[in-house]
C-alpha cells in the first residue's frame, strides 16, 4: 500500500512538472511574444528590445526554460508579464474559485446521480424509463450547452444572476451571495456529470442485483430496500468509484467552458487571458496549478479505489 501510494505520488509530481513545462515551451514557441502583443506594431524598435531585455524574452527558449525551471524548483514561478505581479500571488484566488466550482459540481452530481442510478438500475417501469430518458437528454447537453440554457432561463426569469461571482452590493452577505452566483455554473457542470454517474450506477446496480448473493439475501428475508441500498450498493459503488479518476479531467474541461460562458473568475479564464497576451510565466503557472488539481484529484480517487477494492492495488 505504501509503495503504491509513493508511486502514485511520483507520477503526480511528474504530471505537474511535465504539464507546466509543456505549457511554458508551447506558449513560448508561439509566434509573437508578450512585448509584440502588448506594445503593438508602432512601438519603437529600441523600446521593444529594451523591454525584451528587461523581461528576459530575448534569450533562447531553452535558456529561458532552464531559468524558469530552476526558479520554479525554489517555488519562484516568475512574474506575470501583463499584471507585473508574482504569478504565485495571482493564481491561488482563481484556483480557489475553480476548486469551489468543481467541488460543488461533483458533490451535486454525486448526490443526484448515484441515488437515481440505484433506483433506475434496481427496478423496471415508468420511473426507471423516465430517469433514463432524463439522463440521455442531459448527457447530450455538455457544460457549454447546459450553461447557455440555464443562463437563458435565468435571464428570462431573473431568478439567478447571469454572470460573475459576486454582486456589487450583496443583499444577504458575501457568503450567500457567492452561493447564489454559484448555482448556475455548478449546475451546468454538475447536471451532465450527474447523468453520466446515473447511467454508470444504473448499469452497475442492475449487474449487482442480478448476482446470486442478492437472491440469497432476499431469500433470508432481508427487506428488499435494505438489500438494494446496502448489500448491492457496495459492489456497484466499487466500479463507479473507478470512474472518478477520469472525471477530474472532464470536470476541469467542463469548468473551462462554464467559466468562459458564465464569466466565473477561475483558473481557465485566467489561463485564456494569459495565452492571449502571451504571458508565458502566467500560462505555465496556470497549467501547473491545473496539473496539481488533476494530480490531487486522481490521487485521491486512486487511493480511495485502492481502499475500496484490493484488486486495484495490484496494478
Amino acid at each position: 500500500m505504501a509503495r503504491y501510494a509513493i508511486r502514485r505520488l511520483a507520477f503526480s509530481l511528474f504530471l505537474v512538472v511535465a504539464v507546466s513545462s509543456a505549457a511554458f515551451v508551447l506558449a513560448r514557441l508561439a509566434p509573437g511574444d508578450y512585448v509584440s502583443t502588448a506594445f503593438g506594431i508602432e512601438a519603437h524598435r529600441d523600446t521593444v528590445e529594451q523591454a525584451r531585455e528587461r523581461l528576459g524574452l530575448n534569450k533562447p527558449i531553452l535558456v529561458q526554460y532552464g531559468n524558469w525551471l530552476a526558479a520554479a524548483l525554489r517555488f519562484d514561478f516568475g512574474r506575470s508579464l501583463q499584471y507585473d505581479r508574482p504569478v504565485i500571488e495571482l493564481i491561488p484566488e482563481r484556483a480557489a474559485n475553480t476548486a469551489l466550482l468543481a467541488v460543488t459540481a461533483i458533490v451535486l452530481a454525486t448526490a443526484i446521480g448515484i441515488p437515481l442510478g440505484v433506483v433506475a438500475g434496481s427496478r423496471r417501469g415508468a420511473v426507471s424509463s423516465a430517469i433514463a430518458a432524463a439522463s440521455l437528454v442531459l448527457l447530450s447537453m455538455p457544460p457549454l450547452l447546459t450553461s447557455l440554457f440555464l443562463l437563458f432561463m435565468a435571464a428570462r426569469t431573473g431568478w439567478f444572476p447571469i454572470a460573475g461571482m459576486r454582486s456589487a452590493a450583496p443583499a444577504y452577505g458575501p457568503f450567500l451571495d457567492v452561493i447564489y452566483h454559484l448555482v448556475i455554473p455548478a449546475a451546468a457542470i454538475g447536471l451532465p456529470l450527474a447523468a453520466m454517474l446515473e447511467r454508470l450506477q444504473a448499469q452497475a446496480t442492475s449487474e449487482a442485483v442480478a448476482q446470486p448473493f442478492v437472491a440469497a439475501t432476499l431469500a433470508r428475508g432481508i427487506p428488499r430496500a435494505r438489500v438494494i441500498w446496502r448489500d448491492a450498493l457496495k459492489p456497484s459503488l466499487r466500479s463507479v468509484t473507478s470512474v472518478y479518476g477520469l472525471i477530474v479531467g472532464t470536470l476541469l474541461s467542463g469548468s473551462f467552458a462554464v467559466e468562459v460562458v458564465a464569466a466565473w473568475p477561475g483558473l481557465g479564464s485566467l489561463m485564456l487571458d494569459a495565452l492571449r497576451a502571451r504571458d508565458v510565466y502566467l500560462v505555465a503557472g496556470c497549467a501547473g496549478a491545473g496539473a496539481i488539481f488533476l494530480a490531487s484529484g486522481t490521487l485521491v480517487s486512486d487511493i480511495a479505489l485502492a481502499l475500496v477494492d484490493p484488486r486495484a492495488r495490484e496494478q
Binding site: 504539464v19 509566434p31 424509463s129 440521455l136 437528454v137 440554457f149 456529470l193 474541461s253 497549467a287
Partner: protein
C-alpha cells in the same frame, strides 16, 4: 429506455436525426435561401419571418410573408408590415423556398444576426464546418488510434508499455486545456482552411488514446486465437495480420467510439470558436454563431440567435440515441 424494442426505436430515431443533419449540411445552398455571408443592413437582429397562409381579412393565399418594419432603431424592434403580402417562390434560383422580393423582404426562418445575416442559412452552412471538422477529426482519431493500438497490442513488450503510458497520460489531461495550449502555438487568427486542418489535427490527437486503448485490448486477445496464429504460420507479415485480420475484430468498438468522439468534437469546436480561437468570424460554424450570440441581450431579446445550441443538442442527442443499449457514454463528456 427499457427493453430491446425501446432501444431499437431509439436507435432509429437517433439515426434519422443524424442522417437528416448531415443531409441538411450537404444541401445547405438548396435549403437555405441565402449565402452564409449575405447581409441585410436594414434587418439587424430582425426576428424570424413567419410564413402565413391566411391574410388579415381571413382570406387564404399561397404561402407568403410580411415585410419587417423597423419600429425602434435603437432597441432594434420590428413590426410586421401588414399592408403588402410578399409571396414565397419555390425552387427559384436553386433555393427550395425564397422570398419573391429578396432585397427588402428576405425569408429568414430563424431571424437575422447582429450583422443582418440569415441565421437559418448560416445554421445550415455552419453544420458543414461543425460536423465536417468533427467527422474528419473522428476519422483521424480512428486512423491514429487503431494504428497505435494495433501496433502496441500486436508487438507487446516495451513498445506496448511506452505507448500505453503515453495514451494514459493524454487521457488524464483535461482535453479542453490541451486543445487550448496546442491551439495557441499558432497565431490567434488563421485562415479558415488552416483552422480546419489545425483543429482536426489537434482533435485527432486528443481522441486517439481512447481509440488506441480499446483497440489494443481487442488486438491482444485476438492475437492469440487460432485464426491469427494460422495467418502468421502461412507467412503473413505482422502489418498484414494486424490490418487484415485483427483490426476487423475491433470494428464494433471503433464504431461506438467514433459515435462518442463526434459529439465531443462538435462541442470542442464550438467552445474554441466561442472564445475566439476557432474559425474566424465571417465563416459560419455553430461555434462562431454562438460567439456572436454571447451577450445578455440575446437571451432576452434575440433568442433565435441561440439556435446553433439547439442544433448541437439535436446532433449530440441523435448520436447518443444511436448508441442506446450499447455503451454507457463515459467518454461522451470529454
Amino acid at each position: 429506455m427499457t427493453g430491446a424494442a425501446g432501444a431499437d426505436r431509439a436507435r432509429v430515431v437517433g439515426g434519422a436525426i443524424v442522417v437528416l443533419s448531415i443531409a441538411a449540411a450537404l444541401l445547405a445552398p438548396v435549403l437555405g435561401p441565402h449565402g452564409p455571408g449575405d447581409q441585410f443592413p436594414g434587418l439587424l437582429n430582425a426576428p424570424p419571418t413567419r410564413p402565413h397562409l391566411a391574410g388579415d381579412d381571413g382570406s387564404w393565399h399561397r404561402p407568403f410573408i410580411y415585410r419587417w418594419r423597423l419600429v425602434d432603431r435603437l432597441e432594434q424592434r420590428y413590426e410586421e408590415d401588414r399592408s403588402a403580402r410578399v409571396p414565397l417562390h419555390w425552387f427559384a434560383g436553386g433555393h427550395l423556398a425564397s422570398s419573391s422580393d429578396d432585397r427588402t423582404a428576405p425569408l429568414m426562418l430563424l431571424g437575422a444576426d447582429s450583422f443582418g445575416r440569415d441565421v437559418w442559412s448560416r445554421l445550415l452552412f455552419g453544420a458543414r464546418a461543425s460536423l465536417g471538422i468533427a467527422i474528419v477529426a473522428a476519422l483521424g482519431s480512428v486512423l491514429l488510434g487503431a494504428t497505435i493500438g494495433g501496433f502496441a497490442g500486436y508487438a507487446g513488450g516495451t513498445a506496448d508499455d511506452v505507448l500505453m503510458r503515453g495514451t494514459d497520460f493524454i487521457m488524464v489531461l483535461p482535453a479542453m486545456y490541451v486543445v487550448l495550449a496546442l491551439r495557441s502555438v499558432l497565431p490567434l487568427v488563421l485562415a479558415p482552411t488552416a483552422v480546419f486542418l489545425l483543429l482536426t489535427g489537434i482533435f485527432a490527437i486528443i481522441g486517439a488514446p481512447f481509440m488506441a486503448r480499446g483497440v489494443r485490448a481487442i488486438v491482444r486477445t485476438e492475437r492469440d486465437l487460432d485464426y491469427s496464429t494460422a495467418a502468421r504460420a502461412l507467412g503473413a507479415s505482422g502489418a498484414r495480420v494486424v490490418f487484415r485480420h485483427l483490426l476487423p475484430a475491433a470494428r464494433g468498438f471503433i464504431g461506438v467510439e467514433m459515435t462518442l468522439l463526434v459529439p465531443a468534437f462538435v462541442v470542442a469546436e464550438a467552445t474554441l470558436s466561442y472564445i475566439g480561437l476557432g474559425f474566424p468570424d465571417p465563416i459560419a460554424s455553430w461555434g462562431t454563431m454562438l460567439h456572436d450570440a454571447s451577450n445578455v441581450r440575446v437571451f432576452v431579446d434575440f433568442p433565435w440567435l441561440l439556435s446553433p445550441a439547439l442544433a448541437m443538442f439535436a446532433v449530440v442527442l441523435g448520436l447518443n440515441l444511436t448508441l442506446q443499449g450499447r455503451a454507457t457514454g463515459v467518454e461522451s463528456m470529454r
